[in-house]
Amino acid sequence: MNRGLGRLVLGRLGASAFSLVFVIVAIFTITAALPGDVADTLLGQGATAGATAALRHAMGLDQPAWLRFWHWLDSMLHADPGRSLLTGRPVAELIGLRLYNSLLLAGATAAVSVPASLALGLACTMRQGSRFDRFVTTALLGVVSVPVFLLATVAVFVFAVQFRVAPALADINAVHSVWQFIRVFFMPVITLAGATTAQMSRMIRACMIDVFSAPWIEMAVLKGVPPVRIVLFHALPNAIGPVVNAIALSLSSLLGGVVVVETVFNYPGMAGLMVDSVAARDVPVVQCCALIFCVAYLFLTTLADVVAVASTRRGGSH
């Protein structure tokens, strides 16, 4: 590792920080632009204009936008996302458990989909053009083209209604053993992993085939190196950059899938909380959730870029 690499990584982190500032402004602007506010929600339709105005004033909602933005920014910088306007409970407390649940779901999905995509992508590369390869790529293309909510509905129909192997709703409070964990998480994970694996293994296959066209792969074949060793020892180290990028991009697209899947399975995660809070105009909660999603996305893409840069450097392809 050298100074040039450090500079590149710093540059990339700087760009991410810039994106983060942009994201913060965007989140505030969008939530401020939502029609109606929490005062309407709390007091209902029968409230008098005077009562809502008084509540608004009490909550500080009548302050100018820039002042509210300043307050929000100030509190975020002190790691205090404020209190829910709806219930008065601290946002951190509301989100805490939900965040844990969502991370659990995302982690379980990644643990299934990353090895599965690597295996599928590498197997297709090794048998490029064979019947196996054609079948798998066609099937994966099919899965990619199906929207996640349909995948989720089909999963419910097949596993919960037809075969009754898993519950249709993910009741996370019922988890007391590994077996129960598998039963509860089976369907949300299968749905999410299906979508991400399809995308990821297609990208991994494309990266690997690109690497496989290099003359030094032919050289390895002519040296009599076993095929598995060619893939793992010769091809993979050269494909780490693009492969990690493919994985990170797919995992970040998982964030979008989470919203749908949590809703379909009534899973108590971040996405569900965010959807409810948008409906109630509980702005501090919405802002905090949006920020967490955006930071997660930025983190994944930045990580992918840094790994890509570092791996090309080490590989020495200038």
Binding site: P215, W216, E218, A220, K223, V225, P226, F233, H234, S317
Partner: protein, 607 residues
């Protein structure tokens, strides 16, 4: 004695896009005895690499062995199943690829790759394999044999990688080694070192080999027998001397002819015409800039050159000497840090954007790779007519007539007008490339390695065309090349470029004999000759060469100091050499008095 390699009636078929099959190799039979080296000669597309690879039971994707028998060291290669085949490759037969730069895995150290065949085939335990690798590195005359394996491919030069690749091929002590154009991508001075290293090791170990090449002079040095291929079929075969000296088949004769290019006649004596282009004290570089505005790392350093009107100036040098940068600087594509360009008596701006349209029209460039400059979606006619309209405002029938005249000038049939570049052969594309430059009616044409990507027979025709155009149109040219034969065939005058410096300028005709800069001498004597035994003579003469560690080149020193056998310590490495006028208007940059420089004998350079 039975043959170690025997191929009978080999057919290899390739699949086209539409699914139909086409014969790439047709009914080829050949034999190689134990300890013998067979050369497969042919141009690109002749099937020589396909045959060499089929000996290893390997065909490139989309191809298949469609008939015939291949027997190597007792194995019926065409009938082997994948597992025995994998065990056979790398152990019984091994391969040295054309471009070692891309045949080594960039992400792995060389050591791991070199000993991999021995480990994959359980020939040697790791420790012994490592020891044998170091022995082979030493035998291949590689620097630092103990530690060179710890490096990555991009840290070594092309010539070193090629020798490492040969070491990798020999690590399992195979019975047969296939060499696929192993020196084609190298400079002549490097090629000689690699050839010598190969030959010493092969002779010592009694290796049987197949050597794929298009260079007949190399064949004469390395091969016992030769097979000439054309369009996938054998057109001539026999002992090397027989094939090279008394070829029977018309194509083989053509090939031998093409390697003996005629030397251009000297320009008429008399006063040298006015220069059309003059470069003065040109510096191009990058990195931090000193007080005088000169960059720390120089690609070109103090270049002084001029091209007389109606003459062809050749610029020769190894890869990395700054040839292409020179072309780009003259063309205005590369900014210079210092120096001036005078073109037709007026100063020429450094950047092409600041030149007048007329200046741009008068200075045209013909690039090395026609594929990269000709738009594949346009017809040849459209390509030419666009230039005519752009520079001369010609349209319609007028432009069409002029375009057809240009095609005629570069000796292409009029039918080419309607065709697109991908439908043309390499030689035809290069002619269109030429016609495109001529369409502007330039005063000076920059030719950047225009024959480097072409087969010898085609290249010879392009050189002939250039010489004729020069004679009929009075064209002025700068001809960049690394090929001494091409240089002598078309150029009036030569500048020898090394490390961004012009070390010598002289008449092209006098380059092969008389007194020259030690580098020019090395360059000239490194060009392989078609007679067997040449390599022995040259390597014997160079026994005195430069094993001592080269001194670091300080700024201002002679660029050749690290390789020069006659360097003067404490002078050559930091004092800029004076430019000394020599016989016949030559200008040589050397610290030695010219009388002390050993002259080239005619025999050294007679190709």
């Amino acid at each position: 004695m039975t043959a170690l390699i025997s191929v009978r009636g080999l057919h290899v078929a390739g699949r086209r896009r539409d699914g139909s099959e086409v014969g790439i190799v047709r009914d080829v039979s050949l034999e190689v005895q134990r300890g013998e080296m067979l050369a497969l000669i042919g141009e690109s597309g002749s099937g020589k690499t396909t045959i060499a690879l089929s000996l290893m039971g390997y065909v490139r994707p989309g191809c298949r062995i469609s008939g015939g028998e291949i027997e190597v060291a007792g194995y019926r290669v065409d009938q082997m199943t994948p597992d025995p085949l994998r065990n056979f490759r790398g152990k019984t037969i091994s391969y040295v690829a054309q471009n070692a730069g891309s045949a080594f895995n960039p992400a792995l150290t060389l050591h791991r790759q070199v000993i991999e065949p021995a480990l994959s085939h359980w020939v040697l335990p790791r420790r012994d394999a490592e020891r044998r690798a170091v022995d082979l590195f030493r035998a291949m005359a590689l620097p630092h044999p103990e530690t060179i394996g710890a490096r990555y491919p991009h840290q070594l030069s092309g010539g070193q990688l090629q020798r490492l690749m040969a070491a990798m091929a020999l690590i399992t002590e195979p019975e047969v080694v296939v060499f696929d154009e192993p020196t084609t991508a190298l400079d002549v001075t490097t090629q000689i070192e690699v050839l010598e290293a190969f030959r010493a090791v092969l002779a010592e170990r009694g290796i049987t080999g197949v050597y794929v090449t298009h260079d007949l002079a190399v064949v004469a040095q390395v091969a016992d027998r030769a097979v000439v291929l054309r369009n996938g079929a054998v057109c001539e075969s026999g002992p090397t001397s027989e094939v090279l000296e008394r070829p029977h088949a018309p194509y083989a004769r053509e090939l031998v002819e093409a390697s003996r290019l005629p030397v251009r006649a000297m320009a008429a004596a008399g006063p040298v015409p006015e220069p059309v282009l003059t470069l003065s004290d040109m510096v191009v570089g990058y990195g931090s800039v000193d007080a005088r505005g000169l960059p720390a790392r120089r690609i070109l350093d103090g270049i002084n050159l001029s091209v007389p009107r109606g003459r062809i100036l050749g610029i020769i040098g190894e890869s990395g000497c700054g040839k292409s940068t020179l072309v780009r600087t003259i063309a205005g594509l590369q900014a210079s840090a210092a120096g001036t360009i005078r073109f037709r008596g007026e100063d020429l701006a450094g950047a092409v954007a600041r030149r007048t349209p007329d200046q741009r029209r008068r200075l045209q460039i013909v690039a090395q790779n026609a594929d990269l400059v000709l738009n594949p979606a346009w017809t040849v006619g459209a390509i030419l007519m666009r230039v005519l309209r752009f520079f001369h405002g010609l349209r319609g029938a007028e432009a069409r007539a002029e375009a057809l005249r240009l095609l005629d000038l570069v000796r292409l049939p009029q039918s080419v007008f309607e065709r697109r570049p991908p439908e043309l052969s390499g030689g035809q594309k290069q002619r269109v490339n030429f016609a495109r430059a001529l369409a502007a009616r330039p005063d000076l044409v920059l030719c950047d390695e225009i024959t480097a990507a072409l087969d010898p027979v085609v290249a010879a025709a392009i050189l002939e065309l250039l010489a004729d155009l020069q004679a009929t149109l009075g064209l002025s040219c700068i001809f960049i090349t690394h090929d001494l034969h091409a240089l002598r065939a078309v150029c009036d005058r030569v500048a020898v470029l090394l490390g961004g410096h012009v070390v010598e300028q002289c008449d092209a005709a006098s380059l092969m004999d008389g007194v020259h800069h030690p580098y020019s001498r090395l360059l000239v004597s490194s060009v392989p000759e078609m007679r067997p035994g040449w390599l022995d003579e040259v390597t014997r003469q160079r026994q005195v060469a430069t094993d001592a560690p080269p001194p670091p080149v300080a700024a201002g020193g002679c660029p050749f100091v690290s390789r020069c056998a006659m360097r003067i310590e404490d002078i050559c490495d930091h004092v800029p050499p004076p430019v000394v006028p020599g016989a016949g208007g030559a200008r040589i940059a050397c610290h030695h008095p010219l009388a002390d420089l050993p002259p080239l004998l005619q025999a050294d350079g007679a190709a």
